[in-house]
Symmetry: C2
Subunit: 706 residues, 2 copies
């Protein structure tokens, strides 16, 4: 499970609006300023201290490839999932050295392998700036102008913070705009790969088992974080628990859930159900088909494209789960009841009703405006990395001249450092893949939107798809970071005079994209943003502040128990700890290495249930009863991949890497009886490091035995 | 999975009426006179010879405790499930020798342990007697008299057959009376226990895992059949396949499915849904609660009652599955479409319409008559074995004087041998259990039907429940087989003068039960029987004879493949053999011993996922990758437990013991994508016999190595 590559689309389309369900059971992705201490005390007799919380926060890491991680040693070792590290492993791989297939282990520091373009963030500061952001729009009647004023204030806040502290500074909205916060991040960009298992060990069970439980995966990877050419040193890291998570135990997950739509109004959910989800599913399915055909051409083609297929299949399964959730009458009935309750609470107070009562209708109208625009937003794309870079360069040259407040958001001063880091990436871009991606995307765009669509027309420029793609990819130098740097440094003149076909196409695209953005902002964003803020405020009035905001790829704390269910077996006095009700029976709270070998044998040791050579060789030396994966009731979602699971002592007992199939509905609603987080067990990771991978030096460092 | 103890109730309540779905996929429980040879040839290029079919039929066994079995050696070894043999194991057990808990193995013939009251049947003859049975009622206008004439003809047919051949002779109806057949059985009553594993090995996973897959059960038991004090010798036995079932392989199941309702009309299904199922569920749940409370009193109480709890939980899970199936809109829509198609085909031919077109309405009206009677039929019961025997004796004395044709069906001449065998059973009856059963049943009857209900009043005779139960159980000698024999031999005079409280109560009950039976026959049975025959005939006209009849605990052949699904994994050219889509992923076609140890470790080695001492001791000597359980697409249902799974060579490759959770809807409809039979693998059984139970002598005999 991974933060969906579609989260960006979803963010654009669905400006978040609070619905206001009161938290139930173990539900909740809590911001670190609003941890439910009372609830924890009441239910588990545990009160984390501020020091405990700060230590966990500063040990937690956001991985901007789309995932989470944590520091696990004083010398910068960083634990995340294989599938989060996979993009960087792929970028380091070649036909000769396939680190995806074979794994990687740096036995010495000198062998540690640099990630070409990985940025990681540690949340070091949080400040509530709601009054500044909302105040900026006060008294401005024109909705579009109000939105601009808000954006200008946000640019100002982030620039001031960046100038003052040097930290990456983002203003993030919570509770659909009920609150705005300045989040300050310490940024690291020198992140080196220390260890990764073979893909088939990390992703045993493959696409079929993805988002299910029981699982038997070693979905882990270890980086080391450097600064100024040396490993960092810090006390902000999590101690490793050799025993690991025990059934029934209270555990915490500290990570970066990507996006949830739990606060959406019914009108928004209906747009998700009717137009966003089915079109995204078709897009993903078609891309998978095209990529699989490409993979059939040979082993090198397969190597190039398997990571893409992994990501697309992952996203597809997420969207199929969302489709099923939105087709589930019980879920829609639940959401309807929640919305009716919220409306009734507001209506019961005439002042509230006057101030906030129209928000639902306002949102519903904006969604009706949005509805016919969705298809174009989904299919207007080239899926070309080089085209993306070209458009960024064209827009950069135009935007950088403007005052900070007036720029497109991604070009605000506070964001330029990250932008330049991405533009400078030395990661190779395969022309064959560029052609595959573009051809698939453009064929689909022509089919769905027609050649006369402004975006499509701007890319094709009168050619058919194959001719346009060949011209663009064969003729461009955008794959060369030095060429990109020269265009960036050359400013408007260099952009205007460039004959590079990608730049030429980007110049045609730029006005189209700007016009679309403006139209979306003016007709939808300018309406949804203030309406969302209204509902956010109304929500505090109706339900108080004992709630958590929808996920926004910001740091959250969730709590839960391992397994999560007790079953009275009728013979023992103590209840049996189990996972959850599933498949007509009860799932175990954890799996063991025995189960790995059972599944491989059961499926004839064939992909995706194939043991690696190292796993086969280690069979007799492993303690097969060692826990390998486990479930807990922690409330997580895509983006939480790589999050540490910690016990009450703040020790690392597991590593989040998936949710069960029932968790896919968690985008809209959390069901504590069935929704489960799936993690790699710390004892299983240690057993694998030592006995399968013979990485004793690394294992000793993690366990502090050096 | 076991033939439900409720099948009898279901038979009484729902006289079968053909619906007429054409067979699809691997669907079908085929009678041996009508095996779908063309379909087998077309799909699998396999045509079983008549010799192949006869050999399989004569190697197949019906176990009248409610299950199936097969001969597996020339010297009478009989393989069935532990849970089918469980009743006889329980009857042989004492507080000192608990063969349920500890298992049993007779290393020599002298140690083989007699079953107190087990009758087994082998189907040696089949004759179509439709014309005789249906002809007997011809020209009789009064429905009740017609039913009597049919019953009289059936009694005549069975008596003639029994007199002529000595075989047990039953007339059975198929296609809801579209056909009647005389089935002749060779009967054996000297059946000795040779081997049974420990309950926890046979039923690993317990009630939670019952009716699910993957499973890890050694649910096997071995009897030896004797005649005249010596083991039988026969060539009708199945050769053991050491390799066992392979994924994708064509396999056959020959066994005795208990009851299905696939031919029921919608009106009948609605009565099942609305009144039968919910009341049976409540009855079973209450009995389980009472039995579990009893078990809490101590280990000996638990030993006495665990087999009952097993059976009740098994039935409850069946009924919960039926409830869910009948609440499933897709299933009801499917059944509605089938019925509409059937009606339309009949309506399209004016002659057919005139002859058969009113059958659905006739049945619907009879079901409306039945509806208010159901509750009393379910709750009028004592659940007392001794009361059952007493009522049989009272009725026997009255019936035996009458001409054969006029007796209640169970007292026809052809049935007396079996009746006497049951009355003579030396199996002990526990007074404590009798009290438990009666108290639970009568409290529930009073609650549901009131004390003024005629049945309840006849049992209680003015007392409250505790007083009545104590009086009946404490005062009776019915537990003594000699006492029962004296009453049987004593005739009417002995019955009339008996002061045994059970006999006294049975004398009060007899007229009530007779009146109820008469009323049910006159108002429901007399209408449903001819209407069912109409639909049965109409069905042949509309769909031909390429169909199988609903299950009736008669021998059936089903075919299917191991696993049953292929999955293209995207990397290999050959499809991967899998089980079926489940739990968001794909189930394996089989499990291994690895999985057994995985599950035990995952659940902390606690009941019902607890390894036995023998299993723990054998861990290092076992080949853990040996297949243990597997799934196939064979169409089975309760009663098939213990059926052999054979390959194209007629060799035994597995032993049916369960269906997956999706198979519970199979009572009403078969879905080949998800409905799976679950079997113990022949290689797993052999591995367990030799390495866990060290029963090499028995294993050698089975493998023909003596």
């Amino acid at each position: 499970m991974r933060k969906s590559l579609w989260s960006v689309v979803v963010f654009v389309l669905a400006v978040l609006v609070a619905l206001g369900a009161a938290a139930r059971a173990e539900e909740g992705m809590w911001t670190f300023d609003n941890v439910p201490l009372k609830e924890l005390m009441k239910k588990y007799h545990f009160k984390p201290t501020q020091e405990w919380l700060d230590h966990l926060r500063l040990s937690s890491v956001r991985i901007n490839d789309g995932g989470s991680a944590s520091f696990i040693s004083p010398d910068g070792l960083l634990l995340t999932n294989h599938h989060v590290a996979r993009g960087q492993l792929q970028k380091n791989s070649t036909a000769e050295h396939d680190y995806i297939k074979n794994g990687f282990y740096a036995a010495t520091e000198a062998d540690e392998m640099k990630s070409p373009d990985l940025e990681i963030n540690v949340l070091v500061g949080m400040e509530n700036v709601t009054d500044r952001v909302q105040g900026a729009a006060k008294g401005i009647n024109n909705a579009s102008d109000a939105l601009k004023a808000r954006d200008a204030e946000i640019a100002k806040i982030t620039r001031e913070s960046k100038d003052k502290t040097g930290y990456r500074s983002d203003v993030v909205s919570f509770y659909s705009g009920g609150e705005y916060w300045l989040y300050q991040y310490k940024v690291y960009t020198d992140v080196r790969i220390v260890f990764a298992p073979e893909e088939e060990a990390a992703f045993f069970g493959g696409d079929p088992d993805n988002f299910t439980f029981p699982r038997f995966d070693t979905d882990m990877a270890i980086f080391r974080v450097y600064e100024n050419g040396k490993p960092i040193h810090s006390t902000n890291y999590l101690k490793w628990s050799p025993k690991g998570a025990a059934p029934g135990e209270l555990v915490f997950v500290s990570g970066h859930p990507g996006a949830t739509e739990r606060e959406d109004t019914l009108a928004q959910l209906m747009v998700q159900r009717d137009v966003i989800t089915p079109n995204v599913i078709e897009y993903l399915s078609r891309r998978i088909d095209a990529a699989q055909q490409f993979a059939q051409q040979g082993p090198e083609q397969a190597r190039l494209v398997n990571t893409l297929i992994f990501g697309l299949q992952n996203s597809l399964k997420v969207y199929l789960g969302r489709r099923d959730a939105l087709a589930d009458k019980a879920i829609i009935e639940k959401k309807t009841a929640e919305e009716n309750d919220f409306k009734a609470r507001i209506a019961a107070n005439p002042e509230w009703q006057k101030e906030y009562g129209d928000a639902w209708d306002t949102i519903a109208k904006a969604e009706e405006t949005l509805r016919p625009m969705v298809k174009a937003r989904i299919f207007e794309r080239t899926d070309s990395r080089l085209m993306g870079l070209a458009l960024t360069l064209v827009q950069y040259a135009a935007e950088i001249k403007k005052p900070d407040a007036e720029r497109l958001p991604q070009f605000h001063d506070a964001n330029l450092e990250g932008l330049k880091f991405q533009l400078a990436s030395p990661a190779p871009v395969s022309p064959a893949l560029e052609k595959l991606y573009m051809t698939t995307a453009l064929n689909l765009a022509v089919e769905k939107l027609g050649k006369s669509d402004e975006y499509v027309a701007a890319v094709l420029d009168g050619d058919d798809v194959p001719a346009a793609v060949n011209k663009l990819v064969d003729g461009t130098k955008m794959g060369d970071p030095a060429f990109r740097k020269s265009l960036m440094d050359g400013g408007e003149a260099a952009i205007a005079s460039s004959t590079d076909p990608m730049i030429v196409a980007a110049r045609r695209l730029d006005p189209v994209v700007r016009e679309t953005t403006k139209k979306m902002n003016d007709t939808v964003g300018a309406v949804l943003t203030p309406a969302g803020e209204k509902l956010g405020k109304a929500r505090f009035l109706a339900y108080g502040h004992d709630a958590y905001p929808d996920a926004t790829f910001t740091l959250r704390l969730s709590y839960g128990t391992v397994g999560g269910m007790e079953y009275f077996n009728g013979r023992d006095k103590e209840p049996l700890q189990v996972g959850y009700p599933y498949n007509g029976t009860i799932a175990p709270p954890f799996t063991t290495f025995y189960g790995l070998y059972d599944h491989a044998a059961s499926f004839g040791n064939r992909f995706p249930f194939k043991l690696t050579e190292k796993q086969q060789a280690a069979r007799t030396s492993l303690d097969l009863s060692t826990p390998l994966n486990f479930v807990s009731t922690n409330d997580i979602i895509g983006g939480n991949s790589g999050s540490p699971v910690v016990n009450q002592n703040g020790e690392l007992v597991g590593l989040i890497f998936d949710g069960n199939i029932e968790s896919l509905a968690g985008d809209f609603v959390y069901d504590g009886t069935k929704n489960r987080a799936v993690a790699v067990h710390s004892a299983g990771m240690m057993e694998a490091l030592r006995k399968i991978y013979h990485a004793d030096k690394l294992a000793d460092e993690i366990e502090g035995k050096q």
